[in-house]
């Protein structure tokens, strides 16, 4: 009875998965570039931003078309409005991965004072959050969305650890200041990526249950 609408919703899902995969790749590249101080890799990560922006526009256009043509209600309405909100957060995530890559390029001139071991952990954790939040949307998995929100504490904890370590390094030697601040910004970007993944998960919960998540 509504097979065309269902086909369009499947297409929306596919596009969300594709955009999710793109931002995941952007974060992974930025992280690898950070670990290896690899300028070329960082540039590659930045280049992905255009693809993500295009993806955002395409999904937005599809959602607008669905709103116009199908005048969705109930869970269809929630699904489409959720997709519209999610892509804003997804695009911000890719911006932040690009910001990280830019700092990597700026830091490329000098070797690291110390291997930034906790930051890759943050990267792994945030990639997981992003992937899971998009998966939760596609699979309509309420528990997975809730897990993402809980997992944000892990990222916040790692951020605090990184911050205290950097403060120590700065206390030890003033000359460490510049690099420490760069690392702190990188860590902050990862922490923000985690927050955006949380926003996505909150929208997924709304899409499934119809209830807005009340922030503590």
């Amino acid at each position: 009875m509504r097979s065309r609408f269902d086909e369009q919703l499947t297409k929306l899902n596919d596009m969300m998965v594709e955009m999710g995969a793109l931002i995941e790749k952007t974060i992974t590249l930025a992280t690898q570039a950070l670990k290896d101080q690899d300028v070329e890799l960082a540039k590659k990560a930045i280049a992905f931003e255009n693809d993500v922006d295009q993806m955002e526009k395409d999904i937005e256009a599809l959602c607008m078309k669905l709103l116009l043509q199908q005048q969705p209600v109930a869970k269809d309405l929630r699904l489409i409005s959720t997709a519209l909100k999610m892509i804003t957060d997804m695009e911000r995530i890719s911006d932040q991965a690009a910001d990280i890559s830019e700092i990597v390029i700026m830091m490329a001139g000098a070797p690291y004072i110390q291997e930034p071991e906790k930051i890759p952990q943050m990267a792994t954790a945030t990639v997981k959050m992003v992937t899971d939040s998009v998966d939760a949307f596609v699979k309509k998995d309420l528990q997975l969305a809730k897990n993402v929100i809980e997992y944000d504490d892990v990222v916040d904890g790692l951020f605090d650890e990184v911050k205290f370590r950097l403060i120590e390094l700065m206390r030890a030697d003033n000359a460490n200041g510049e690099q420490c601040i760069d690392f702190l910004m990188i860590a902050k970007y990862f922490e923000r990526i985690g927050d955006h993944a949380c926003n996505i998960a909150e929208w997924v919960i709304y899409s499934i249950t119809g209830k807005q998540v009340v922030k503590p």
Binding site: R2, F5, P72, V73, K75, R78
Partner: protein, 249 residues
């Protein structure tokens, strides 16, 4: 405040049970929409609210319908009930007489003879139905010369002319073009300040646009009844969800 209170309403057309245990309150000065697939009982229910079903042979009703706390299936004057509870139908049905006489007909049958008073009622009713400007210079012309959308607004004006409390509307825009439809919708929203409105509609978006509360009916049962925003964004019943999203119906 509730305009209508329905308790355990069952209705049969001979052996066929068209309404099953309907219990609901219809609040005053609000727009209440009835939705559901054809044959679900929504039109039957709306007609029960001013006893239009009395005219159907083999129709039997049990349970209670109260209007302002008064049982309407008791010993009451049905003409007075229908004066208080007006009705507008799917197809505009103006009487084959002048625009003026269409509006003055009701008040005249209720005993108003003063020309001055009738003029006043005709103008006010046409104004309230947002059709005064289009008809004021042709009041003596036949109502059948109006367009479909104008005829429907004339019928609303005619219903308003006897100063009802409630306006029942059975798919009032299904025979109209989009411009006439939006005029009627705007009008209905304006009218709820002074009237209680119950509307049957097959147009889901119309129910979502104009009504405050929505009841979903299926096979004679009231499946779900609540705030329109709630019903169309987070329906509580799977059957409601399936119907409004077009998965069956």
């Amino acid at each position: 405040m509730n305009k209508f209170s329905l308790a355990d309403v069952n209705l049969w057309y001979n052996d066929f049970q068209a309404l099953k245990n309907i219990t609901m309150d219809i609040p005053a000065n609000m727009i209440t929409a009835f939705i559901g697939p054809s044959g679900c009982g929504k039109s039957t229910l709306i007609k029960s609210l001013n006893r239009m079903n009395d005219l159907v042979e083999g129709c039997k009703i049990t349970g209670n319908i109260m209007l302002d706390g008064e049982i309407i299936y008791g010993n009451i004057d049905v003409n007075l009930l229908r004066k208080r509870v007006g009705m507008v139908f799917q197809k505009p049905n103006p009487f084959p007489m002048t625009i003026y006489d269409n509006i003055a007909y009701g008040p005249r049958t209720h005993g108003i003879k003063s020309k001055f008073k009738l003029n006043e009622i005709v103008e006010k009713s046409l104004r309230d139905a947002a059709i005064w400007d289009e008809t004021k210079d042709r009041l003596k012309k036949s109502a059948l010369s109006l367009s479909g959308g104008q005829q429907q607004r004339l019928c609303i004006a005619r219903a308003l002319s006897v100063q009802p409390d409630v306006l029942l509307m059975d798919e009032p825009t299904s025979a109209l073009d989009p411009i006439s439809t939006s005029k009627i919708e705007e009008l209905v929203i304006k009218l709820k300040k002074d009237y209680t409105i119950v509307i049957v509609t097959h147009n889901m978006q119309q129910a979502a646009r104009i009504s405050d509360n929505t009841g979903f009916f299926l096979l004679g049962e009231l499946i779900e009844y609540g705030g329109t925003g709630q019903i169309f964004s987070v329906p509580g019943e799977k059957r409601t969800e399936d119907y409004i999203t077009g998965r069956f119906g």
